[in-house]
Amino acid sequence: MNIEILEALLIDRALGHLSPEVEVLLAEHLAANAAAARSAAELCETVALASSVLQPPAPRLVLPPPAVAIFPPRRARRVLALAASFAAGAGVALLALRGTAPQPAPANVRASAPATVVAHAPSLRRVESNPALRALPFWSKERAVTLAAAKQSNR
């Protein structure tokens, strides 16, 4: 066998990329050829050492659970219904407050200008209106931060 082809096959073998049929044929060749077998062992050793350098000690990583696991559908519906009724109640209360006349300020108290609140809720509406993102079943810290920031600036 051509030595270059043999080496290429041995490297593929060390990297675990040979098809089973070729693997069998190569094993037969190695059994009959000590020099090739030595070379194969060296290559396997090289790859094993490289793997041990490249592979970190297995970290204990936990895949963030999909949102559906955190919020089972039935519970999510209940929570959403509760949130909707709260929002409706708050809206009605706000309208009622707006309808009442403001209390006159005492004569000795100087009226102060209302604090100016600059609200930047940049991406909330965009995020919420995108049906693909709304249907997203995954938890995202970035998304949560965006929503929280938008909510805070809306206050």
Partner: protein, 162 residues
């Protein structure tokens, strides 16, 4: 839409862990988790392409790799892609040849090192690596062969220690 969500959910279950490990080996875990979610956000955004994807794992790794590059660019203390983070280095006591191997890997050209990492650490096939890196399979094979030949040369050098 439901079938898309279902497919994406299945992708997440099947490959989310591998993508998370890929990311966490290259950046802090918290950033890795954000990048993982960002990866799947991208998948949702391009859900219409899902049907045409033949190597879903490679597709996910490709997106994650792209996002990781963006993450490094944004970071002031950018760590070059494929760099071996100090915390990922294992103790040298097991094998005296490990320091030489580590040095040899660090001296590999970035494209050789990244290709080798995708094969040895992330266990991607040659075809998947080709898809992730956007190069032909033949290029992946020749990069891997070059890398292994160079590393083997380091190991077969005569001992220089006294």
């Amino acid at each position: 839409m439901r079938s898309d969500s279902h497919d994406i959910g299945r992708l997440y279950e099947q490959h989310g862990g591998e993508v998370l490990h890929y990311l966490a080996r290259r950046c802090p875990e918290e950033a890795a988790q954000d990048l993982l979610q960002e990866t799947f956000l991208q998948v949702v955004r391009s859900a219409d392409r899902l049907e045409g994807v033949t190597l879903p794992r490679a597709w996910l790794f490709g997106i994650a790799r792209h996002l990781l590059a963006g993450h490094f660019r944004r970071q002031a203390k950018a760590e070059p892609a494929g760099e071996i983070a100090p915390e990922t280095m294992i103790a040298d006591r097991e094998d005296g040849r490990l320091p030489a191997m580590r040095e040899a890997i660090a001296q590999l050209a970035p494209e050789l090192r990244e290709t080798l990492e995708l094969r040895l650490t992330d266990d991607l096939s040659y075809e998947e690596i080709a898809s992730v890196l956007g190069v032909p399979v033949g290029t992946v094979r020749s990069r891997l062969h070059n890398a292994v030949r160079r590393l083997r040369a380091v190991l077969t050098l005569p001992e220089t220690k006294p």
